[in-house]
Symmetry: C2
Subunit: 344 residues, 2 copies
């Protein structure tokens, strides 16, 4: 493929920038007057023509200016985006909000979603961190008045699972605690496979609980992502990209269908290192719903232990540089918080 000349790159960048600002097709004259270019509009038009033939720009109609295509945005993001660091004022504002918040993932997750949504003026997506390799940390059995027992299972990393067991007879809390202690001893730091290979004990009740533990751990190990936090839906409602659509392929549908979102996350960030930011532009022919949208996702947390995904979904026409920086910064913050509070 033909390399673009420097001038073509500049023009493409400026068109992307101007279109992001105005949401209008960009005319050759506009470009010159807004950015004080030293060349004539005819020259710009010639270059625009070339860029259009290369598939980076398109014309809504004959006598309109140019709009970047999906391909154009993709080239821009891969080759032309200026990765400026987030202004320190913004960084401070964001950090301050985390500092002021109550401590604990249950507060930080929605906060991260809220910060991302506000900063990007798009929809934010944050999943609770989750350990790929589930392993047993601690078990507790809590009796009720009836023969039901609340089983609380803590995984290494700090995830908590709860489940209600039905026993055939009512046991005292002492008996239950004894069983829990026994299992805690047996399963100390064990992985799912190790627990599966444990020889059955003499005690039928212990076996029953271990079965339940195995089931809970299996469930956890199948999970792609943890709980989902969204924010900023209203940011995006006014965008034509979002409500022009018929109901059926509104990009917002993606957010309501967990399997789709899990797929999106799995195909992008889960293959990435923590810290790598993925930009999906226009659905990349995989997700119909994202035709005019872009998704910026990254992974945060502690590698191999506890990690989640976070990012935003917005119109394709967005300030990529700034948004990518924001996503990256919030991910760094969250990674720090997760690692400081790791349970292992």
């Amino acid at each position: 493929m033909n390399e673009l000349s420097d001038r073509q790159k500049i023009i493409l960048s400026l068109i992307v920038h101007e279109h992001t600002r105005t949401a209008q097709p960009v005319a050759s004259k506009t470009l010159i007057s807004e950015y004080n270019l030293k060349i004539s509009s005819a020259t710009v038009r010639n270059e625009m023509n070339t860029l259009t033939e290369l598939g980076f720009l398109r014309q809504p109609h004959t006598s309109a200016g140019r709009v970047p295509t999906e391909e154009g945005y993709r080239f821009f993001v891969s080759n032309l985006v200026q990765h400026a660091a987030l202004p320190s004022a913004t960084r401070n504002t964001i950090a301050h909000q985390f500092y002021q918040s109550r401590k604990g993932l249950e507060y930080w997750l929605p906060l991260a979603a809220s910060v991302l949504a506000n900063q990007s003026q798009a929809v934010s997506i944050v999943t609770a961190p989750h350990s790929e390799k589930v392993a047993f940390k601690h078990l507790e059995l809590i009796g009720t008045r009836a023969s039901q027992v609340l089983m609380v299972l803590v995984l290494i990393g700090g995830e908590i699972q709860q489940h209600i067991l039905s026993l055939d007879t009512i046991r005292t809390q002492e008996q239950l605690s004894q069983i829990a202690a026994q299992i805690n001893h047996l399963c100390q730091n064990a992985t799912l496979d190790q627990i599966k290979n444990l020889p059955p004990t003499q005690d039928a009740l212990v076996n029953q609980v271990i079965e339940a533990v195995i089931e809970q751990l299996s469930l956890a190990s199948k999970l792609v992502t943890g709980e989902l936090y969204l924010d900023g839906l209203t940011n995006v409602l006014a965008e034509p990209e979002f409500f022009d659509y018929r109901q059926d392929n509104s990009p917002l549908r993606l957010l309501e269908e967990r399997p789709m979102l899990d797929d999106l996350i799995a195909r992008t960030v889960l293959t990435e290192e923590i810290g790598g930011v993925q930009v999906v532009i226009g659905g990349e022919n995989i997700w119909q719903e994202l035709q005019n949208c872009s998704v910026i996702l990254t992974r945060y947390g502690v590698a191999d232990q506890l990690s989640g995904a976070l990012g935003i979904l917005g119109p394709m026409r967005m300030p990529y540089s700034q948004t990518i920086s924001t996503v990256r910064f919030v991910a760094e913050l969250m990674s720090g918080l997760v690692s400081e509070n790791l349970i292992n």
Copy 2:
């Protein structure tokens, strides 16, 4: 206030019904042909005129049919709605979905949201059940490699709180379990106030943990609602009521701002008995955002122990009878599930 004649009530009901079906202003002739009325259109027009003067109907413009006003819907819902039971086929479909689901509130809550959204074709709102009177059930302390400790606190009812404590020194798991046992003994079934009045112990660490317990319980007691589950946003995106608006007072904003939603829930269902269904039509001059919407909410769970709210938010023009029945039915199901799995 003047009573409506029977014929006026019928005409109002039919207009509501027809408008719900077609989303169009209802003409006098339409009413006659669609519902085989034995009176002339002129008579209907006369009655329509009266109903308009009474504020139950309005005319979008001179030569248009009539549309029910907020007041009209309110009268319809209070006086005219036919409370038909949900068809047993629908009941079975819904019950079946709960039957097929994994057991546990964490599965039932999103399921309830999904069922409500699908059945009503509106946005569903489900909050996790929450105990108004928080009381201590069980505490567990789980050590990490560092001096941080994961505190897991189970409330009566079954809510689980987690919190990370920072100790000055590293303790063994045995020491931690000992402390937990001591506190479990001290706080057995105690309410927040009872724990607050506990005399301080000799052990500084125990005191520190009890402080943390008090803080967690205080937090829990201040909560109006538990976690929020929404579904069906896309159902409603196509409705003119929802995207006609400027961003600022879209009804969906209500769902993103927890304080507003809590206020809505607090002002309606929390004052109600469990089982009572509240219908808020057009925001009732309190919630700007709900101008053309209605909210149907009810409370579910076990009185005085563990209760949450569930319902839907949809366009004002909705099939009230059916939707109210659906909300009520799902609430009954959820109440059953909560009471069967109560931890106390």
